[in-house]
């Protein structure tokens, strides 16, 4: 089995690791590096539970080879808490009941993070479109849409006001 020595920078920390050619990024993150926040739900790129940011872009880590990410910056759900404080997206998901079992939630958060980075003021319709690659079986999505909308407001207020904002 061919192996590759690669470097992945995950949540700001560089890791050298040896992976098989076929090792999926999600398994490198979970099994080799212990970042189990990212979940595997479908292995076909459909459910989005495994979504992480690779070089600031939301991607599905269950169909991406780890070797192809050599030298990349990877951001997982574990990076979102800042100094013990929840990220505005996490706070909004909790406040809007945007999660039940929580299995899809890391992927939802990372996709939403990417969305808001590119569009700080999306419409509800645009939020629904942006989340079409992330399946949730518990919430019916409505409260997830509410959460992303709320987080967008909070984050815009923080940007405008120069602080982290609040309600």
């Amino acid at each position: 089995m061919t192996t590759h020595d690669i470097t992945l920078t995950v949540n700001g920390t560089a890791h050298d690791l040896t992976v098989e050619s076929r090792t999926l990024l999600v398994h490198a993150l979970r099994d080799d590096l212990g970042h189990t926040g990212t979940n595997v739900g479908c292995e076909t790129s459909m459910c989005g539970a495994c979504t992480v940011l690779v070089d600031d872009e939301a991607v599905k880590s269950c169909t991406l080879l780890a070797a192809a990410c050599d030298g990349s910056e990877v951001q997982t759900v574990e990076s979102l808490v800042d100094g013990g404080e929840l990220h505005p997206l996490q706070e909004a998901f909790a406040q809007e009941h945007g999660l039940q079992c929580g299995f899809c939630t890391p992927g939802m958060l990372m996709t939403s993070l990417d969305l808001l980075a590119h569009d700080p003021d999306p419409s509800r319709e645009e939020i629904r479109e942006a989340l079409e690659g992330n399946l949730c079986r518990c919430t019916g999505y409505q409260n997830i849409v509410n959460a992303v909308e709320r987080a967008a407001q909070t984050m815009r207020a923080a940007t405008d006001g120069g602080d982290r904002g609040g309600d």
């Binding site: 076929r22 099994d31 189990t36 979102l80 929840l86 406040q95 079986r137 919430t139 019916g140 409505q142």
Partner: protein
């Protein structure tokens, strides 16, 4: 505008019960700290993978494991012969038995024959995850392929492929309920009858976390520990111990974080049991995690009915009787709860919300070459509600009444509860017109009907679909469960343990997986004890910590588990009262208890808080004579009756006249689950259930081809609804407390799943009524609509 509760922090609530207290379980789920089964690792962990049958029906002639065994890092390869050599039967136990039900063995690994595609045939245990999968692929199984049948109706007809020698014509059981003669008499004198053939399609539950097991065995202590994605750890322990002949008191089953269940994680499965068996054989930790495709081919499917249904009516629109025959699909084997769904889970609810003279239903449970069916959110009630609500839709058209009026005319009147239905169930309480009124108001019914007429004149098809439902949930009491075939009691345990510090731990035998039990139970108990919400912790899902339990399914957690923890809290207050009275030197009846404080009537300064009583109870220096130290109470709550939540959902759709494309305009849900403990959590349950109901109505359906290949074998092929495919849900509620439940609660987790499918089908049929379309089987995809429109145009030229 309907009500949308906002979460509040617990300290903002005047009273915890009834308040939308923010969920305490969210933080680890949001930060990635949650531990689902596959997140747990062990130093010397082994991975297990299965070789599963490619065929729906075949004789297993030979299994060549040599290539797999030769692979470096493969620790063991197992077939049915190894299981037999170990001396265990390893057969999945059916725990819902009907009279004369045929229960051919459902083994952990296939023996001489496979009966559905995806049935496990062999297993490999290896040092690494990918290697186990490689080795499972390297096992060469020689099959003699046999003809397959995947329709329950076709399975029981002459000449169908035969699955089990024990079950001639693939009939597992014939079953009936109601009164045939009275029903026939009502039909004989009816002014109108309507009839309908329908399919309630198989569904894939699709919990986002696939099933997973991590099993360990410690040879020194002779104890097994199993972490698994389960809805009912105690039941699973019982099932596995029975299958593996393992002593129940030495197996611990733990549900860590569980990524959804929807019924698919309450049955015992061959692959789960085999993983535990392998760990016992190898005395090393063994983990198996289903891939999605593997899960779709082996986790129980839901629904699966082929039904003929009839309704008899008077000229005035009175429902006289219904007559139903259904072929219920069990799949290749009888699963743990498989026999329940098409019989007791279904047929008694066929009368729905309506008073009628008689009903009669016959059920044929059939074996087919498909994955065994199991409970799936609603488990029988959605299938029943679908039948009655489709009949009512047709009946309204037949007698020329508005469908809302026909429903109202036939509802069981609110002053007739408790009401014994013609199927023999005793509906506890109900006020069916209230949610109807509210739903029609919210949707703007009269205006919609006017707009519908205007649009029709323009060649546009607007449809309004009404769905009234009543469901039975919170199954019990245990004696009745036994009488109708259940090989289990359906009580629940609750333990309330004060610590010497006055803090409280609550243990419950239910096992939440997204429903917010940590929050809900803490609300119930903190209120009852008069202690701070943050002083109450909740433990579930661990057979070593929770004394006994039955688990979470069938909307039983708050109705049965909540009642159990409430009962224990009340017992704790009564014991504390004895200690308080002793220490305050008054009689117990002279003490008042409010907000955690015992005070002497008429002398409120003489008081002691229950948390101080707890300290005294453990100090045990000054207790009433004969009273045991400590402050901990346990109860086994056995419900008096089922609970019967109800409601009305209305959906508005528009169908594109050219393409059949269907768009949702509005969805209104008014549910009555009695008292609500946490309205925000209730709303979340309603939303999620509607989404799954709309999934069935609009998108989802298991497809097998003629050879029994599972065509919808991955998420690429099976249409779980996405965010942009669902409408905005407008929700509201009425409150009709359950009279026999100490919290006044009824279940809510399945309501939307029960209500939504027929709302969609009724709406589409309403939209297309000018074309004479009376019925479209689910899922009502755009293509299905388009085909129905074209069929209608071809048969009668379109417009009436």
């Amino acid at each position: 505008m309907s009500s949308t509760p906002e979460f509040i922090d617990a300290h903002e609530a005047q009273r915890l019960r009834g308040s939308p207290v923010r969920r305490r379980e969210d933080r680890p789920l949001l930060t990635g700290d949650a531990q689902y089964t596959d997140d747990i690792s062990r130093e010397d962990l082994l991975h297990l993978a299965f070789t599963r049958s490619h065929h729906a029906h075949a004789r297993v002639e030979a299994i060549d494991t040599s290539a797999a065994e030769a692979m470096e890092g493969v620790v063991a390869v197992y077939t049915a012969a190894d299981v037999a050599a170990s001396g265990v039967t390893g057969e999945v136990p059916p725990v819902w038995l009907l009279p004369e039900l045929k229960t051919p063995p459902y083994p952990m690994l296939a023996r001489e024959r496979v009966r559905f595609q995806g049935q496990p045939v062999a297993a490999v245990v290896a040092e690494r995850r990918y290697l186990a999968a490689d080795a499972a692929d390297a096992i060469d199984v020689t099959y003699e392929k046999l003809d397959a049948v995947t329709s329950p109706g076709a399975a029981t007809t002459e000449g169908a492929p035969q699955l089990h020698e024990e079950a001639p014509n693939n009939v597992a059981a014939e079953w009936e309920i109601g009164d045939r003669e009275d029903t026939d008499a009502a039909f004989d004198r009816a002014d109108h009858t309507v009839e309908l053939d329908l399919v309630n399609q198989r569904l894939l539950p699709t919990a986002m976390e696939p099933r997973a097991v991590l099993a360990e065995y410690n040879a020194s202590t002779e104890k097994a520990t199993v972490h698994m994605s389960t809805q009912c750890p105690h039941l699973h322990r019982r099932f596995f111990c029975e299958m593996l002949d393992f002593p129940e008191h030495r197996m611990r089953v733990v549900a860590p974080d569980v990524g959804g269940g929807f019924g698919s994680k309450d049955s015992a499965h061959p692959d789960e049991a085999l993983t535990i068996w392998a760990a016992l054989q190898l005395e090393r930790p063994v983990k198996w995690v289903a891939t999605r495709t593997e899960g779709y081919a082996s986790t129980g499917h839901g629904r699966g009915h082929e039904t003929h249904a009839e309704m008899a009516l008077s000229d005035d629109g009175d429902i006289l009787a219904i007559r139903v025959h259904t072929d219920g699909d069990l799949g290749g084997y009888v699963s743990t709860f498989g026999a329940l769904n098409p019989t007791w889970g279904y047929a008694p609810m066929l009368p729905g919300q309506y008073a009628m003279e008689a009903m009669h239903c016959t059920v044929t449970e059939a074996f087919t070459n498909a994955v065994p069916t199991e409970p799936y959110r609603g488990a029988g009630r959605p299938e029943a509600s679908y039948v009655i609500e489709r009949l009512v839709h047709l009946a309204a058209k037949e007698v020329g009444m508005d469908p809302a009026d026909l429903r109202r005319r036939n509802y069981i009147p609110s002053d007739e509860f408790p009401y014994e239905t013609t199927a023999g169930y005793l509906y506890d309480s109900g006020d069916y017109e209230k949610p109807l009124d509210r739903a029609l108001e919210l949707v703007g019914y009269d205006d919609l009907r006017a707009r519908q007429a205007e649009l029709r004149a323009e060649g546009r098809y607007l449809g309004i679909g009404i769905s009234s439902y009543v469901e039975s949930c919170g199954y019990g009491p245990s004696e009745i469960v036994g009488q109708i075939g259940g090989q289990l009691g359906l009580w629940e345990t609750g333990v309330v343990r004060f610590h010497p510090s006055g803090k409280v731990t609550v243990f419950c035998g239910t096992s939440g997986h997204g429903q917010g039990h940590q929050t809900t139970y803490a609300q119930i108990v903190a209120d009852e004890l008069g202690v701070d919400f943050d002083d109450v912790d909740v433990v579930e899902g661990d057979t070593d910590e929770v004394p006994m339990g039955m688990g979470t399914y069938g909307s039983r957690s708050v109705t049965v588990g909540g009642a159990a923890v409430l009962t224990s809290a009340r017992k704790a207050v009564e014991k504390a009262r004895q200690i308080a009275a002793h220490q305050l030197e008054v009689a117990t009846e002279d003490l008042e208890f409010e907000s955690g404080e015992f005070s002497v009537t008429g002398a409120p300064d003489r008081a002691i808080h229950i948390q101080e009583v707890a300290r005294q109870a453990y100090l045990a220096h000054d207790l009433p004579e004969g009273l045991e130290p400590g402050l901990e109470e346990e109860s086994f709550y056995d419900p008096e009756n089922l609970v019967y939540p109800f409601g009305v959902h209305v959906v508005v759709v528009e169908v594109d006249a050219d393409t059949g494309e269907l768009s949702f305009e509005k969805y209104v849900a008014v549910d009555d689950c009695g008292e609500q403990i946490n309205p925000k959590i209730v709303e979340g349950q309603v939303h999620g259930a509607i989404a799954q109901g709309l999934g069935q109505g609009r998108f989802e359906g298991v497809v097998y081809d003629e050879s029994g290949n599972l065509v919808t074998g991955s998420m690429q092929d099976y249409a779980v609804p996405k965010a942009h495919q669902l409408p905005h849900f407008e929700t509201d509620h009425t409150v009709t407390p359950c009279p026999h439940n100490p919290l006044g609660v009824k279940g809510v987790g399945e309501a939307g799943t029960i209500a939504a499918p027929q709302a969609v089908v009724n709406a589409v049929c309403d939209a297309l009524s000018p074309l004479g379309v009376d019925h479209i089987d689910m899922p009502v995809t755009d293509e299905a609509v388009w085909q129905a429109m074209n069929r209608a145009a071809a048969t009668d030229g379109g417009a009436e």
